[in-house]
Amino acid sequence: MYNGRTELKQVMSVLEVKNLNVSYGASSVLEGVSFSLDKGDALAVIGPNGSGKTTLFKAILGAMPYEGEIKIAPGARIGYVPQKLDLERDLPITVREFLLLRRQAKTAKTHSSEEALRLVGLKEEFLKKKLGELSSGEFQRVLIAFALIDRPELLLFDEPTASVDIAGQETVYELLNRLQKIEGLTLLLISHELSVVYRYANKVLCLNHAQICFGVPYEVLTPQELAKLYGGGTGKFYQHGGH
């Protein structure tokens, strides 16, 4: 029976990372990172600036050479929302055209551009707007819509360091939380705010090059662990994203 359970767990695992090591030249950025994500999980990755959070994402995307194992469930699609994208303001591309870039092959499973925008709470009129004309909050939503077009199983979300929420609308975390339910997403998010971790994540991974903790937020985020992670006073982090 025990064997049966582990087997089942392996089938359900959307992402499994085992003993991951990444280095830039001689300096090591990630050391011995191991965790796994089951369908429907929301994992928050926290850690100080430069602790390897974005590097972890890049390794999962295959954008960076690594040692160890990264196993993604066969056939699972990944949506990726980068922290920022250095777009030139005058880039001649509309939101509609940008969203179409994601859809390499049109299948019945993919969302239309209109549906994708609706999912992130943007009106259809945005399709005609130029990408460079959007506010940072609108642009982030378009990036999420882009990631959702082909109904990914796993969404990697790199939170911007400054809040880009649109006044009077649901915050980006409320949005992700809603999407997670209706789209059945497994979430992997880099967060700079501890409040987010407690509210929206069922798992947390603390990184400071090495893995400091992994588990359920209320269990593993003890003051001692946080002190280890951020080096002393955690007050700064509680206030706002360590800035």
């Binding site: 995307l61 005058d90 591309i93 509309t94 055209e97």
Partner: protein, 255 residues
Amino acid sequence: MSDFFSLQILTAGGLIGAAAGLLGSFALLRRMALVGDALSHVALPGIALAIIFNVDPLLGAFAFLVLGTAGIWFIEHKTKLPVDTLVGIFFALALAIGAILASEEELLDALFGDITRLTQFEAIAAILISLFISFALILLSRKFTLTMISTDLARSTGLSPHRLEFVFLLIFALTVAVGIKFGGALLTGSLVVIPAATARNLTRSMNSYLTLSVILGFASAVLGIFISVLYGFAPGPTFVLISGAIFFLSVFFRR
């Protein structure tokens, strides 16, 4: 020059302009404007060697361009040096080798090009190659656009940016090889940059941007050749003057 032959030259010139314009619109998505200039210099030793060994200069140019592009691509990924540094070095090296290998008269020709002196074979080859370039770019346009905008986003959709960049550079090399008869080592870069830069000023969507680059490339090339034949100017510089003038006008109509 017979009417049929001049029609061939005009077609070849127009299609080279269209293909280079289309290529340029992708290149300008990622500030690769000067790659064309650098590559056209890399072609120079190839042309000189081809003349010495009596092979078609187009072949010599292309062979050197492929070597140069592969060299730049390879060293870039091995050393992580910025492309423009590498391109700057390759460019000077190639120009120096070309200048030593070529005679003075050949050098002038290779530096500025002259499309009106294409042989019939060369004109037809240029037409076919330009059409091939345009189709390849259209076929891969979404993939190139996404890769140029963000390699990470491209990778998240399952594309291989590294490979796509190499394919793009190869198409770039082919475009420069075919454009070099028109603009020579010095001005071929302008075929790639100017029409696309103008189109970028005037358009808001990718679709109209690509279309206008093609139209501007084609029209400026045809007009350039026509005027140069009429007044006895060199066609390459005439193209640059015409498309440059349109670019400056377009600055006032930016959208």
